[in-house]
């Protein structure tokens, strides 16, 4: 009996220390990985990487931001509307369940599959060449589920008093949704949109066959119909993450590896900036709603 106790105690001590080692080492590993990418990126930095031409990543950086912006312009209204439908308008029936299954399916689709779908529908069927708009649409498909679920959760988490109060004052359902509930949910929805943006920055596989792997911008050309105009959404636009993929096999550029290191660091900082701000915003909202309760 005594030996059994001792064994249990010893086992406990061993396993606790094993879990400690795993927990701490995972944390350290993650920090080292992240630190390595950022530090390596900045060690290999050269001022010419910032230029907006073949030697720098300025154009790719601009394309990344512009593409994510375009995709959010498309996916935010649609995602919010789908979320509102799920939370407010749909009844608990087959349609509701079907939409839920679809949202789940969309959110777990491999991004290469979305990329293929995008290249078929937005490139082949429109008889166009690779362009930013097709890339933005493909990324929108990937973002849509995240924004829809965030919106739905935000609406569901809102205290019933908001809705009841507004309805009691004689507002219609839509007036209540649009003027009372949506503004109250907006901060949460924005958190979701920021997260979606963060994911969009890193997307690569969906853009291989949609946004294309080349970019050619003339910063003096501001005629929006021109293929060289930075703001023309119907020009090929290679993003930072795709550029890293292209650089791997590019032998023409002697500094390919340094540029890729630096691109990685920029990308990771961009993504961390967005996810940290989403987190802080969420934290602040939790605190605020905790205080009013």
């Amino acid at each position: 009996m005594k030996r059994k106790f001792e064994r249990a105690r010893a086992e406990n001590a061993v396993m606790t220390s094993v879990l400690y080692v795993f927990g701490i080492s995972a944390l350290i590993l993650l920090i080292i990985l992240c630190g390595y990418i950022i530090i390596k990126g900045f060690i290999s930095f050269e001022p010419e990487f910032l230029s907006f031409n073949r030697h720098g990543i300025g154009n790719q950086f601009f394309n990344t931001v512009y593409l994510v912006f375009l995709s959010l312009v498309i996916s935010a209204p649609l995602g919010i509307a789908a979320g509102i439908y799920l939370a407010e308008y749909s009844k608990d029936n087959a349609v509701n369940r079907a939409i839920r299954i679809c949202v789940e399916t969309l959110s777990s689709l491999p991004s290469i599959v979305v990329g293929l779908f995008g290249s078929l529908v937005f490139i082949e069927y429109t008889h166009s060449h690779w362009n930013l708009m097709a890339g933005a649409l493909a990324v929108s498909i990937l973002n849509l589920p995240l924004i829809a679920t965030t919106t739905e959760d935000a609406f569901k988490a809102l205290p019933q008093a908001y809705k009841k109060g507004s309805m009691c004052l004689g507002a219609t359902h839509w007036q209540t949704v649009y003027k009372v509930m949506l503004p109250a949910c907006m901060p949460r929805i924005i958190t979701g949109i920021i997260l979606a943006a963060g994911r969009g920055f890193g997307e690569a596989a969906a853009l291989l066959f949609t946004a294309g792997m080349s970019t050619d911008i003339n910063w003096g050309q501001w005629n929006i119909t021109s293929k060289l105009c930075p703001l023309n959404p119907f020009r090929p636009g290679e993003t930072l993450s795709l550029y890293i993929w292209v650089l791997r096999s590019e032998s023409i550029n002697p500094k390919a590896s340094e540029i890729a290191d630096f691109s990685g660091a920029v990308l990771i900082l961009l993504v961390l900036l967005f996810s940290v701000s989403a987190r802080l915003l969420n934290h602040y909202l939790d605190k605020k709603s905790g205080m009013t309760k």
Partner: protein, 314 residues
């Protein structure tokens, strides 16, 4: 008089309100239903494009799944072979090896941050892990390519001359799915009622006994869900694996030899194919297979969730 106009305008307004009401209800409903349309469109396009291999080029499903003879012609005439077994095997081996590598790690970190040091977990580990969910996979690929492959090359210079191998692919995937599994597992462990733990402690169990025979069994379904979510993410991952898998069309002889996988060949070869050709169709079939696999994982997760509900009823 003045009051009357006021009343009229109010009436007009409220009429406008009701008009808007109907209009917006239609718009919102239409968008909600469009989500179903979009998903169906993706499924239908995949099914149509993917099945062309079978009805247009007369290959059998059996050949596609179980033959390793991959030589599709890039023409409308076809006549090549479309055996995708190498790619399917490559995907299966890397994904399951990644899962085997990362599961013990993920579960112990999840246990550590919820049960052993909840304060450290909440303040430091949880935010760090969640942040890593968002790191672009291309960066994992790049680091795997520049660091991990070099490292494997120096350690095993004879067996892995380039460093690109199944092992490298699995490690990259393992690091990638680590945050997914850990977050879901931690949520599952947290949702185990604290009475369970208290009761077990009151009976004189040590902490490890509580964890291993009470907490883990009751969080089993959640842990399984996390593992499957991680697996489904690993299956769909494309460029990170394409960086390090070596992209050699052969079965791996050991974990140090290079191979190919489904996503990497789509990414690598789709761009050069002719729309409607045999090769193009074969690659679409591969995408269809990926879609079916991801649907399969969703169904499995739902089954697990249902099992949990039934258990609660009892």
């Amino acid at each position: 008089m003045k009051d009357k106009t006021k009343f009229n305008s109010a009436a007009n307004n409220s009429q406008g309100g009701f008009l808007n009401e109907g209009l917006w209800k239609i718009i919102i409903t239409a968008i909600g239903i469009a989500v179903i349309g979009l998903t169906l469109a993706i499924a239908v396009f995949l099914a149509v494009k993917g099945s062309a291999t079978f009805y247009k080029f007369h290959h059998s499903v059996f050949e596609f799944l179980f033959s390793s003879d991959w030589n599709p012609q890039d023409t409308e005439a076809g006549g090549g072979n479309v055996g995708a077994l190498i790619f399917i095997c490559g995907s299966l081996i890397t994904c399951f090896l990644a899962l085997a590598l990362v599961t013990p790690f993920s579960l112990s970190v999840a246990l550590f941050m919820t049960e052993i040091s909840p304060r450290l977990g909440k303040r430091l580990i949880q935010p760090a892990v969640e942040m890593f969910v968002g790191i672009p996979s291309i960066i994992y690929g790049w680091v795997g390519y520049t660091v991990l492959c070099k490292w494997i090359k120096t350690v095993f210079p004879d067996k892995a001359p380039t460093g690109m191998s199944v092992l490298a692919g699995s490690i990259v995937l393992a690091v990638m799915i680590f945050p997914t599994i850990t977050t879901v597992a931690a949520d599952a462990i947290r949702s185990v009622p604290s009475e369970y733990r208290k009761a077990a402690y009151a009976l004189g169990s040590t902490r490890w006994q509580v964890l291993s025979s009470v907490v883990i069994p009751s969080a089993k379904q959640g842990l399984l869900t996390g593992i499957i979510l991680g697996l489904s993410r690993a299956f769909g991952e494309t460029l990170a694996v394409a960086f390090v898998i070596g992209r050699v069309r052969a079965f791996p002889t050991s974990i140090l030899s290079p191979t190919y996988n489904m996503t990497a060949i789509i990414a690598g070869e789709m761009g050069d194919t002719m729309n409607g050709g045999e090769k193009n169709s074969a690659l679409w079939t591969m995408a269809l297979l990926l879609f079916i696999i991801s649907m399969f994982f969703i169904i499995v997760i739902h089954r697990i969730g249902k099992g949990k509900k039934n258990e609660k009823k009892i």
